[in-house]
């Protein structure tokens, strides 16, 4: 599997490259049909990459997306669709903000408590779907979608009960975190007026942890085995039900981190204006990155890049920023199609290669014998 094969790497890169080119063509066609300036739109989008301020924004968004995609990817590796990352992270960050604003502790401990509360709440919320699946056979796709809506209602209800007015707006939010519960930023990008979330360190650690957990532990092996073939996993002694609940809890716990960079590094309180819908972005990015920790990072950066590049479009060229959403949607769809086409191509190549080798082994003129005779 791990042997270096340039053809293999080329094929792996071919799919996303094809998808981006395809998305470029489709988006240009849409712009053309709508009568918007094509050249200027692309130039504006490309320019975004050279501005330090935009780069900071991209890295910050990508950090948030990374957690979300990682949470989804844990489920994916196990053939579980955690569509509920969205509700899980919002419930988690809301509770974390609530607890964090109410207590006062010394610095590292305060932050730790907030993060743990968020992770536990998100994990438990995801766990409901896991329990329903193993005890009652309820598809996690449907249950997590429903739990998203329920989370929205619960948050709205409790927010109204505990909220205080957010300073300088007519928005309401939780009590702001004291200084001991905040994570400072890092000045990673030269010349940028914005700082990078300090939480990016945790994102990197989470990526490494994900990789180690899946590839270097028995649990990770069981998880991947169950994802590849449930029957084979059962035969080798894996308790699939237990695995489902644990992976849902784990996925939810990572989902609890999604809101943390923004809460601890920028907003300091959960208000109605807190970013929503990040869970769905995570699904798309996990698909782009093929559940690979590095792939997801690249996918998150690409997604964040497109997101950020939408802003100047409206102002500079007069093109609606939603053209970027179209491009993101096309990229996801074409990436999954391209991966599927590459996979099929690989299988047919493999079959051809095996057939050729068998022919050679059997000798040029002799008829092939069944059951390995003559090997």
């Amino acid at each position: 599997m791990n042997r270096f094969d340039p053809r293999r790497i080329l094929l792996t890169l071919a799919a996303p490259a094809m998808a981006i080119v395809f998305a470029f063509i489709i988006t240009s066609l849409v712009l053309l049909a709508a009568g918007d300036p094509i050249g200027e739109t692309w130039r504006t989008i490309l320019d975004v990459g050279s501005q330090p301020r935009s780069i900071s924004l991209i890295v910050n968004s990508a950090t948030v997306f990374y957690f979300s995609a990682l949470a989804v990817a844990i489920g994916f590796r196990m053939n579980l669709f955690n569509i509920g990352v969205d509700g899980q992270y919002r419930l988690g960050v809301f509770t974390g903000a609530l607890v964090g604003g109410a207590i006062s502790l010394p610095r590292p401990l305060h932050i730790l408590v907030i993060v743990l509360v968020a992770m536990v709440v998100s994990a438990l919320w995801a766990g409901i779907a896991g329990i329903l699946k193993v005890t009652r056979g309820v598809s996690e796709v449907i249950s997590t979608i429903m739990l998203n809506f329920i989370a929205t209602g619960l948050i709205a209800y409790f927010l109204r009960r505990v909220a205080v007015p957010v300073a300088g707006s007519n928005n309401i939010g939780t009590e702001p975190l004291p200084a001991s519960g905040r994570v400072g930023g890092l000045s990673l990008i030269p010349d940028s007026p914005l700082q990078i979330y300090g939480f990016i360190v945790v994102a990197v650690l989470a990526g490494v942890g994900y990789s180690v957990l899946l590839n270097r532990t028995r649990f990770g092996f069981d998880l991947r085995a169950t994802g590849s073939s449930e029957t084979a996993a059962v035969a080798s002694g894996v308790n699939v039900k237990r695995m489902i609940v644990i992976s849902m809890l784990l996925s939810g716990a990572v989902a609890g981190l999604v809101g943390m960079p923004v809460l601890l590094g920028e907003a300091y309180s959960y208000s109605l204006a807190f970013p929503a819908g990040l869970g769905f972005t995570g699904i798309a990015i996990a698909l782009l990155g093929r559940n690979h920790p590095v792939g997801i990072a690249i996918g998150a950066l690409l997604w964040a890049y497109l997101d950020v590049s939408g802003n100047p479009l409206q102002i500079l060229v007069g093109v609606s920023s939603e053209i970027v959403t179209i491009m993101q949607g096309v990229i996801v769809l074409s990436v999954v199609v391209a991966y599927e086409l590459v996979r099929r191509y690989r299988i047919s190549q493999e079959q051809r290669r095996v057939a050729r080798q068998l022919d050679e082994a059997a000798g040029p003129s002799e008829p092939r014998e069944p059951q390995g005779v003559g090997v």
Binding site: V30, A34, V141, F149, I150, T152, A284, V332
Partner: protein
């Protein structure tokens, strides 16, 4: 697994005999529901829970949910899971706004259907032709549908009178049918608040108050779907693709073709649901108009056990809770708690009679809890009533998942000639 090609009306898998749901049984269920509601109405004095206004609003809210659910039904009966319904519905709202303000309401309906069908075609292309996972494709189509509608809206509606990047110019109304004399007569009976009789009058009166032509088409589509899918050779073949595509293939059915038909139809129905929202409910396209109704439609379909009748009941139930919430929400939904108590108690007693003590105890405990909630509060918070459909779906799935029967090959990827 091979039972998919039986020619019966219903493919039975369980050995336990299941009662066929016939017209008298349906009428009995409706009568029972009215009886329950009027009992609760008399006890609580919350007149709105069975008023003709509420029921009329409930129907209007049930139509888009029902159309999305019917879309899901078509796709899943052919074995393709469609969680892209929400995106297709959004495309439908845009199509309706675009066509509606320029060429009239019916053009809006047509373009809404067409826009939804295009979304369905894309889903079919990705899942059927390219064999991509159905959920993955659905998620992507939801992203794409939203972005496309928002982008096109800002191109098409900005600068038009009454329009903007998040709203289309107003759409003219569709014809609606109302029967004033009958409505007045039934209204008099309803005003008396007699037990049961007034409630029946309210139910009938709901259908005499302004009733959109598109609503009638929606009812016809539910009934039509039943006849097409369960009473024709076309429908049998289509459903066989959802039960066992390889068996269908061996009998010469072009599975790809049927899946395409089903998924395009699915998108068209979701688009129609979106068009109803834009034209009838709001008289304009608005950004975020669907509000997750595509997902609720999917829930209604599951609630209805992948059958048109059950789906209509589910959509009706969700539309009803929605209507209650909009009209004096807290008080009405609070009264509904008593309905839940009565239903749960009935379930508990039924289980006790059948000597199944465990489920009976669970039912009794929950009934007691809800009763306590009812007695200790005066209102249910509006935020809670908003997710009533979703909690209902979770409960139904948790309690009845073993009795639900999705199509056997639902969500599986089919490649021609690769049957085991």
């Amino acid at each position: 697994m091979s039972s998919g090609l039986q020619t019966g009306v219903e493919v039975e898998r369980t050995s336990a005999p299941r009662r066929r749901i016939t017209l008298p049984i349906v009428l009995l269920i409706i009568a029972g529901a009215i009886l329950l509601l009027s009992l609760v109405r008399v006890i609580t004095g919350a007149d709105d829970i069975a008023s003709s206004g509420t029921l009329n609003a409930a129907f209007g809210l049930a139509v888009p949910i029902g159309m999305a659910g019917l879309g899901g039904l078509w796709a899943e009966r052919a074995g393709v899971v469609n969680i892209g319904l929400e995106g297709m519905m959004i495309l439908g709202t845009f199509g309706a706004g675009f066509g509606g303000y320029q060429w009239g309401a019916w053009a809006g309906v047509g373009l809404g259907i067409l826009a939804g069908a295009l979304g369905g075609l894309l889903h079919a292309l990705v899942t059927v032709t390219f064999g991509v996972d159905h959920i993955v494709s659905g998620v992507a189509i939801n992203i794409l549908g939203l972005g496309t509608a928002q982008y096109l809206a800002s191109v098409a509606f900005v600068g038009k009178p009454g329009g903007g990047s998040t709203q289309s110019p107003p759409i003219p109304d569709l014809p609606s049918i109302s029967v004033p004399p009958a409505s007045r007569f039934l209204g008099d009976i309803e005003q008396e608040h007699w037990f049961f009789i007034s409630d029946v009058a309210a139910l009938l009166r709901a259908f005499t108050l302004g009733f959109s032509a598109l609503g009638i088409i929606a009812i016809a589509l539910v009934i039509g779907t039943y006849f097409v899918l369960w009473r024709t050779a076309f429908g049998l073949r289509l459903r066989s693709c959802g039960e066992n595509p390889y068996a269908a293939e061996s009998l010469g059915v072009n599975v790809y073709k049927y899946k395409y038909y089903a998924v395009v139809m699915s998108g068209a129905l979701a688009g129609l649901g979106g068009a109803f929202l834009a034209i009838v409910a709001a008289s304009a396209y608005r950004d975020g108009q669907t509000g997750g109704r595509g997902f609720i439609g999917l829930a209604a379909m599951i609630f209805g056990n992948w059958r048109p009748g059950g789906l209509a009941a589910g959509a009706g139930l969700f539309g009803y809770t929605d209507a209650l919430q909009l009209r004096r929400g807290g008080e009405s939904v609070h009264a509904l708690l008593l309905v839940v108590v009565l239903v749960l108690s009935a379930v508990a007693v039924l289980q006790l009679v059948r000597r199944r003590l465990g489920p009976a105890a669970i039912g009794a405990v929950f009934a007691a809890l809800v009763l306590a909630w009812y007695l200790t509060t005066d209102e249910v918070p509006g935020d809670f009533t908003g997710f009533t459909p979703h909690v209902t779906t979770l409960l139904v799935l948790a309690l009845a998942a073993q009795r639900l029967r999705p199509p056997a090959a639902d969500g599986l990827i089919y490649r021609r000639g690769e049957g085991a």
